[in-house]
Amino acid sequence: MSFLALMRWLEATPERYDSGMQAITLGRVAQLHEAVAREAVPRPGCDVLEIGCGTGAVTERLVRRGAHVTALDQSAQMLEQAKLRLMSAGNAEIDWLEQTASEIDALPRAAFDSVVLSLCLSDMSTSERHYVLSQSRERLRPGGRLIVADEVRLRGATRVLQSLIRAPQWLAGWLLAGSVSHPLKNLRAELEASGFEVRHEQQWLAGTLALFIGEPGK
C-alpha cells in the first residue's frame, strides 16, 4: 500500500523500475501518471516543466498529449532510460536537463504553462521542497498550474496501519538500495506556504497517494 521504500531499490535499477512500480501499486501508478499528464496538458502545444522525470513514464504521456516538455532529473541513469523510452515517441520536443530540482532557478521566469512534480517531493528535505515549490511558482505563466503527485501520510488510526505496512518495506528499501524516504506529512499546507492555492485534490490506494493541483495565489 505504501511503496516508496521499494521505489528506492527500483531507482537503483532503472531498467526494472517501471514494471516494478506497476506491480507494487497494483497498477495504480499508471492511473496516477495518466491523471498527472491530463491535468498538466490542458491543450496541445503548451510548455511543461517536469521536475524529477525518472524513467519518463509521465514525460511520455505529456508528449503524447502534444506538450513541449522540459524534463529534469539528477540521475544520469534514469535520464538514459527516459531517453530510450521517448525515442519511440518520434521527434518529440523535449529538453533533457541532468540537474537537481533546485537548479530550476536558472530557467527563465514565467516560461511554463504547467510544472509537474510526480513522486519526487518526498525525496526532498523541508527546505528543499519549499525552495523548489517557490521557484516553480516563478516559472509559471499567468494562469499556469502546478501538478503534484506523491505519497502522503495518513492521519489517526490508519497511520499506525500505514506505518506497520511500511516498516518491512522501509527495511527492504534500505537493505537493497541503502536509502529511505518518508511520506509527506502535510503537503497541502506546504503548497500553500509556498504561495499556491490548492484547486483540486484526488486520492488513490486508500489515500496514501495524492494528486494536488495548485495555482499561484495572490
Binding site: 537537481t100 533546485s102 537548479e103 527546505s127 528543499e128 525552495y131 541503502g178 536509502s179
Partner: protein, 364 residues
C-alpha cells in the same frame, strides 16, 4: 543523557542510516565572514561535528545524503555535487555570508567535484581535514592542512566502534537462533560472536599472513571444544555443522568498506590498480590533497606527483575524480582500463561494487 543513549544506539546500529533534517545550522554566533562547513545528514556525524566545533562561530550546511556517513555516502553516490548544489541553493546561505568559500570534508572528495560545484552554484570548494576533530586547528591555520590532517588512520577507538557495529546485528541473530534451538548456549555464543568481532577488527590486519589462518585455526578449536563440552547429542551436531560454516564465512568475507584499510572491490571484484599517466600530470597536486592514505608524493621543482605508495591505496577513487587532467585511472593486470568519467558517474553500491560491468561503460 539522551545524547549518550543516542551515541550508544547509533554506534551499535551504525550500518543503518540515521538521517537528520538537512539544511542550515549554526555553530556559536556566526556572522557574515564566518566559515561555512558542510557535512552529510548522518545524525551521529552531525552531533559529533557540533561537539568538535564547540567554541567556534561557523555556519554548518547539512547536505541530504540519505542519512549515511560522509565517506560511504560520497563513495555510494549519496553525497555528490548534486547534494552540495542543492543545500547551497535551498538553505539561503547566499544571503548570510559575504564570501563564497565552502569547506567540505576531505572524504567527500570521492563524490563531490569541486569544479562542478563552482560552475553550478558559484561556490569554491576547499577539501578540509579528514577528521572533524582537526577542523578547529585547520581553521585557525587559515585553511592549511597538515599531512596528519589528510591521513585516515584506524585507531583502537574506531576499531572497537566497527566491532560493535558488526557484533550487534550478529549478536541479535545468534541470540534469536540460540533461544529457539538451545537456550543454555545463548550467553556463550553471544560472548563468542562478540569476541570474534573485536578480534577481527582489532587484530586481523596486524597478524602475520593477514590473520585468516588464525581464524581457520580458531574455527577448528571451537568445533572441537563444542563437541567435547556438549558430550554428544543434537547440540553437538548443530555446533559441528554451524561452527565450520560460521568460520568459513569469516574467512571468505569481504570486509571492504568496514575499515579504512580494506579497499573497495571496484568493478567485478577484479584486481584494479590505481595508475598514473605521468605524461598527463602537470603537478596540480589535487590527488595529493585528497588522498586519505598519503599514496602520493610531490616532486618539488618538477611540477608532477609520484605514486610512491600505491600499496596503501584503498581504491576510493577520490584522486581519479579530482584530477582535472584525467591523469589517473584504474587498470588491471591485462591493461584493461576504467576511465575517470566512469568513476565520476557510477558510484559504489552497498557491496562496494560499481553498478556497471566493465565492457558496458558509456562513451565518456
Amino acid at each position: 543523557m539522551i545524547a549518550l543513549l543516542k551515541d550508544v544506539l547509533q554506534t551499535a546500529f551504525r550500518m543503518a542510516p540515521w538521517p537528520t533534517e538537512p539544511g542550515l545550522r549554526t555553530i556559536g554566533n556566526p556572522g557574515r565572514k564566518s566559515p561555512v562547513l558542510l557535512t552529510a545528514n548522518y545524525d551521529l556525524t552531525v552531533r559529533r561535528l557540533e561537539r568538535a566545533l564547540r567554541g567556534l562561530d561557523a555556519w554548518l550546511l547539512v547536505a541530504p545524503a540519505g542519512g549515511i556517513n560522509v565517506w560511504c555516502a560520497a563513495a555510494g553516490g549519496h553525497l555528490t555535487t548534486h547534494q552540495v548544489v542543492t543545500v547551497l541553493k535551498t538553505s539561503g546561505i547566499d544571503q548570510l555570508v559575504d564570501h563564497r568559500n565552502l569547506v567540505v570534508p576531505q572524504l567527500a572528495a570521492t563524490g563531490v567535484e569541486d569544479l562542478a560545484v563552482f560552475r553550478r552554484a558559484r561556490w569554491r570548494v576547499r577539501f578540509g581535514p579528514a577528521r572533524a576533530e582537526d577542523i578547529p586547528d585547520y581553521l585557525a591555520a587559515g585553511g592549511k592542512k597538515s599531512d596528519a590532517m589528510r591521513r585516515v588512520t584506524f585507531p583502537l577507538r574506531d576499531r572497537l566502534e566497527v566491532a560493535a557495529a558488526w557484533a550487534t546485528p550478529i549478536g541479535i541473530l545468534v541470540t534469536v537462533a540460540a533461544l529457539l534451538l538451545q537456550p543454555a548456549w545463548t550467553l556463550p555464543l553471544l560472548a563468542l560472536s562478540t569476541g570474534l568481532a573485536v578480534t577481527v577488527f582489532t587484530a586481523l590486519d596486524r597478524l602475520p599472513g593477514g590473520g585468516r589462518w588464525w581464524i581457520a585455526a580458531a574455527g577448528v578449536l571451537v568445533s572441537l571444544l563444542c563437541v567435547t563440552l556438549s558430550g554428544g547429542g543434537t547440540a553437538a551436531m548443530v555446533a559441528c555443522i554451524g561452527a565450520p560454516i560460521g568460520f568459513t564465512a569469516l574467512l571468505t568475507f569481504d570486509y571492504a568498506g568496514s575499515t579504512p584499510l580494506e579497499g573497495s572491490g571496484g568493478f567485478d571484484g577484479q584486481d584494479w590498480q590505481i595508475t598514473l599517466d605521468a605524461e598527463r600530470c602537470i603537478g596540480l597536486y589535487r590527488c595529493w590533497e585528497v588522498c586519505p592514505q598519503a599514496c602520493y608524493e610531490k616532486i618539488e621543482g618538477e611540477a608532477r606527483v609520484d605514486l610512491a605508495h600505491d600499496e596503501r591505496c584503498v581504491r576510493c577513487g577520490a584522486c581519479i575524480v579530482q584530477c582535472p587532467r584525467d591523469a589517473l585511472y584504474f587498470e588491471d593486470g591485462e591493461g584493461q582500463r576504467i576511465e575517470p568519467e566512469t568513476i565520476r558517474r557510477f558510484k559504489l553500491n552497498l557491496l562496494g561494487r560499481r553498478s556497471i560491468q566493465v565492457g558496458d561503460e558509456p562513451e565518456a
